[in-house]
Amino acid sequence: MINTTDTAFVLSSAALVMLMTPGLAFFYGGLVRRKNVLSILMQCLTILCVITLQWVLFGYSLAFAPFNGLIGGLQWLGLNGVGFEPNADYAGTIPHQVFMIYQAMFAIITPGLIIGAFAERMKFSAFLLFTLLWATFIYDPVAHWVWGVGGWLRVMGSLDFAGGSVVHISSGISALVTALYLGKRKNVEKGISPHNLPFSILGAGLLWFGWFGFNAGSALAVNNIAVNAFIVTHIAGALGGIAYMFMEWVNNKKPTALGTITGMVAGLATITPAAGYVNIFASVCIGLSAGIVSYYMITIIKTKFAYDDSLDVFGVHGMCGILGMLMTGIFASKAVNSAGANGLLAGNGSFLLIQIIAILAITVFSLIGTYVILKIVDALIGVRVSPAEENMGLDLTQNQESAYTILV
């Protein structure tokens, strides 16, 4: 039976998640140099358009149509059979199409996250091909594993409320692979200052706003789970910001705005898989640990291993996806969500184990899959712009535009 309140709620949530892609574009766009800001924004716009089409044509079917444990079937190609009747496997009180379009927004933002890793140096054509292949061969299967009917991780009992593994681990690990594959940007050792931090802060604000739709909307109905997800999301974002800020304050004597929004996003990403399963106390712990972990990833690990994960996709999203899945394994409680599971603190260590298996499986799959895709794209059209193009900037060389005028 369709419930119009739930329907309206998920539609609004879909709109909010859609807004996260422009939000992400600004979050990332502010961090690059002026000569490359449009390339970031353009990649986000392109993903918004192209993945929508991919999803309608075959992506949704591959991810959610029943078939086997590894991949969805082809019966929903072109959204054939995806109508107004609810699909009780996914959401019994809203039209199937509403579930489809809500999930589309997740399929869009996930490859969007990756672009931060290869910022300022990837060819536009290579980016486009990479994104299409990645969405099809990494995202769709992983979404099927975790959320699809018959997906093996779902069957095994792994829980990922709103995409900690599907969205954040998959993109974060793939980001690391692309960063290593493409190599460093020229001059990166000398430091590349963000060209417009207010843009990044605007993006962070829009991301937080949209994240309410991302996490609360994942309840797919207006109920206590949605309420809980809304609240723990807000709290984890806040605590992530606080933790990063104080890590900086202690270590560098000053907190920074960029550090604070980094911690916020880390907190929001970490709570994502847990939002429907953990209580407020857990969300405080999750937020704090997210800020601390992402701080160390960026300042210590990245510096030590000297990879150029340009906008810290691995350090923030990858690690926080992993952390969030573990935290779900630790803090999940049937008292919060009877359809969920009890975690380690509720005495059920085996659930944590399942979460670890999910993390490992998705990590390994994303790692290998992304590498193979990069190899193919590189062989076909080459992935990296020439040094001259890198000097001149991607905006001019890939898109023939300038973000800002200088003289008039």
């Binding site: 430091g191 560098n252 920074t256 510096t303």
Partner: protein
């Protein structure tokens, strides 16, 4: 005729302009520059990673004057831009061979003011 180029602290701009106007030196061209000097830049920190920010924001003034105004202009700038702290800036004086007012085509000293 001389071309006086002064690099000053951004904060001193209003005062320097006022002092120049008082000396009837009303025509100036101002631009934004970054300077590296004795004044230490502040190390910026992005996501906890430090970056030596060795350039500081400064303001540059270009003032073309007749010879009789050179001293006045320098005095005016010294009087208003000096705080005594490192970073106050410099004044450079170059020889100016010709000056033409575009609107009228006037040349030389007449075109300066």
């Amino acid at each position: 005729m001389k071309m006086i180029v002064a690099v000053i602290q951004p904060d001193a701009l209003e005062d320097v302009l006022d002092s120049l106007y008082k000396e009837k030196i009303n025509l100036v061209t101002v631009s934004e520059v970054m300077g590296h000097g004795r004044q230490k830049g502040i190390t910026e920190v992005y996501r906890g990673v430090k970056e030596a920010g060795n350039l500081l924001r400064k303001i540059r003034l270009d003032i073309a004057v007749n010879n009789s105004y050179v001293e006045k202009a320098i005095e005016a700038i010294l009087g208003s831009a000096k705080t005594g702290n490192v970073g106050d800036g410099k004044i450079f004086v170059l020889d100016l061979e010709q000056c033409i007012r575009i609107r009228t085509g006037e040349e030389g000293s007449n075109a300066i003011g």
